[in-house]
């Protein structure tokens, strides 16, 4: 499903110095896998996730997603790809404060031009799945951190993506909410066969995944199946 070959990402500092965020990364991810990408901060794990999620482009290397070379895609096609195939869950939830829960969840369907009535129904179903049936019209500011993250999960789910990326998705949550969110995520992998890749520095969270990839200084140092 995903195949990275010799992916390099170079950042330029304001002074003009070049820093390698990723250095010749090779990685294959199959359909329905549940993996964690771990490493200390600054190791390049978020950079890797951004490239995998088509939010950022690698400086060199080949990135194949379902057989298509991502670097060669236009902005329009990439946007379509993000919309259809990829769901994101961020540490800081990234909900739009002006929109209520259901409107936030609807967002990917809006850009897919799904008619309003179908959109509302699907967004409502997604919110039910994450246990927020009673909070449909609440604005993010009226929800707790755990609830906001569940809205974010619903938004990632609603477009029925083939892969979901989570970037420190429990980083801002209390232990109880973290467990709740992780249970929802595990359910997605088990029952919906969605590929899930989590970036985390928390080994407890990482160990919930089937496969663990350790990254350090932009290089994959370990890649193993977690029993």
């Amino acid at each position: 499903m995903i195949e990275l070959t010799n992916i390099v990402k170079i950042f330029k500092t304001p002074e003009g110095r070049e820093i390698k965020g990723l250095d010749r990364v090779n990685l294959t991810i199959g359909q329905g896998e549940f993996l964690s990408i771990v490493g200390p901060s600054g190791s390049g794990k978020s950079t890797l996730m951004n490239i995998l999620g088509c939010l950022d482009k690698p400086s060199s290397g080949i990135f194949l997603l379902n057989g298509t070379e991502v670097q060669k895609m236009s902005d329009k096609d990439l946007s379509k790809l993000r919309n259809k195939e990829i769901g994101f869950i961020f540490q800081s939830y990234n909900l739009l404060p002006k929109l209520n829960a259901i409107e936030n969840v609807e967002l990917p369907l809006v850009y897919r031009k799904v008619p309003a009535n179908i959109r509302k129904k699907e967004a409502y179903n997604a919110l039910c799945q994450v246990g927020l049936k009673e909070r449909v019209f609440y604005k993010p500011s009226q929800l707790s951190g755990g609830q906001q993250q569940r809205v974010a999960v619903a938004r990632a789910l609603v477009a029925k993506p083939s892969i979901i990326f989570g970037d420190e998705l429990t980083g801002a949550l209390d232990p109880k909410s973290s467990v709740e969110i992780m249970n929802i995520i595990k359910g997605l992998v088990e029952f919906k066969k969605i590929t899930v890749a989590l970036v985390t520095h928390d080994m407890k969270i990482a160990r919930m995944a089937k496969r663990i990839i350790k990254i350090s200084d932009g290089v994959i140092v370990e890649d193993y199946i977690n029993n």
Binding site: N83, K98, A159
Partner: protein, 395 residues
């Protein structure tokens, strides 16, 4: 999608009301100025033209070409346009049915203890008829009154001198430059405005005017042309009469020409006004651009989130553009309302008919939309060009 875009635009614009209102102010004032100025220009033109048109198009106005009394003071009588010359012209040209010669002066007018400066017209008996003036009280000056110290007052002047214009002022004395006159009539108030303000003037026999102003030189004359005779042709005929038969250099204007001149003048005035309004519209546009640029800076994260949910650059661009167009349209609509209300107000106080040309309203709408697009383009392009990852990193 369209309704949603409008909804989103409305939501983001109402989230910071004060900022939005301030940004709108420029475009609102600009559009209000355009609507109001076009309306006032049209109304003023209409009123000026109404005066000219009321006289009819069968009138030719004539005056001596070299203006200024000083120049003619030393000249012999035969080089000065006098009432006799005009009468002679009327007698010798059968196309002229009547003629009204006039000597104008500006002097102090009034009665014991209450004097003011006013225009005094020395007129003949045909003055009323040609200028379509009507008597309200008393009677008009006739040709047989030329030797009498009689006067007729404009309605407003009569009110100013006697407190109220009424029958009772007939027979009272009024002075013009130390010469005593007896009031024999008051004119009806003229509703349309002419270049000569007859409402605030005093009218005396032309012969008496030559004494008051110590000159025989006519200010101008109006000649009524025979019915259905083309005025342009009449003008040429009279022109050649003056050249061949007199030593006078006379300038003749047909009423049509004066109407055309008035129209030209108001066109020039409108152009100046519209240019001024255009500047305020540009200032308004810059206000909107500024608001949009600030708004985009504040909403970088939102743009990042939308992009990560599948919005392509074009969608973001359309969203920001529709916000700025929406903003300018609201500003424009407010401007049209204010513009129409001020035109009504001005027309009410200036006592003229309000004309609000529909095209000025359409023009304002069109200009507002164009401003929204033009001044929203740069912010929209900046928003669309943003890299998702940079936008998402923004706190």
């Amino acid at each position: 999608m369209f309704i949603l875009t409008i909804k989103e635009a409305l939501r983001s614009l109402t989230s910071n009301k004060l900022q939005t209102i301030l940004a709108l102010l420029g475009i609102t004032i600009g559009v209000a100025a355009v609507v109001c100025m076009i309306s006032v220009g049209e109304s003023a033109k209409e009123k000026a033209l109404a005066g000219l048109k009321a006289l009819g198009t069968d009138i030719i106005t004539g005056s001596e070409q070299q203006a200024g009394k000083e120049k003619t003071k030393g000249l012999q009588d035969k080089y000065i346009l006098k009432a006799e010359d005009v009468q002679k012209m009327a007698n010798e040209n059968r196309i002229v049915t009547s003629v009204a010669a006039r000597i104008d002066g500006f002097t102090s007018v009034g009665r014991e203890g209450s004097f003011r400066d006013a225009t005094v017209f020395g007129i003949t008996g045909s003055f009323n008829n040609i200028n379509k003036l009507k008597i309200k009280f008393g009677r008009k000056i006739e040709d047989f009154d030329m030797e009498q110290n009689y006067c007729v007052l404009g309605y407003d002047l009569a009110s100013q001198i006697f407190g109220k214009a009424g029958k009772s002022i007939i027979g009272k004395d009024v002075y013009a430059k130390r010469h005593k006159f007896i009031v024999i009539g008051v004119y009806e108030k003229l509703e349309y405005k002419l270049s000569d303000n007859f409402n605030e003037a005093m009218f005396i026999p032309i012969k008496k005017a030559t004494i008051v102003f110590e000159t025989k030189k006519l200010s101008n004359f109006k000649a009524k042309i025979r019915e259905n005779y083309p005025t342009e042709k009449a003008k040429i005929k009279l022109m050649s009469y003056f050249i061949q038969r007199t030593n006078l250099s006379i300038k003749l204007d047909t009423q049509e020409m004066l109407i055309k001149q008035a129209e030209e003048q108001s066109k020039t005035a409108s152009k100046t006004l519209i240019a001024t309004a255009a500047i305020s519209l540009i200032v308004g546009g810059i206000g909107i651009m500024n608001l949009m640029l600030i708004s985009i800076k504040e909403r970088r994260r939102e743009i990042g989130i939308r992009r990560s949910c599948g919005a392509d650059r074009m969608v973001i661009m359309v969203q920001i553009l529709s916000e700025s167009v929406f903003l300018s349209l609201i500003g424009g609509a407010a401007g049209i309302i204010i513009g129409v209300l001020s035109s009504l107000g001005i027309a009410f106080f200036a006592n003229w008919k309000t004309i609000i040309p529909l095209n000025s309203v359409f023009l304002s709408f069109f200009v507002s939309t164009a401003i929204g697009i033009i001044f929203g383009y740069i912010p929209a392009r900046n928003a669309a060009k943003m890299e998702i990852i940079d936008a998402l990193r923004m706190e």
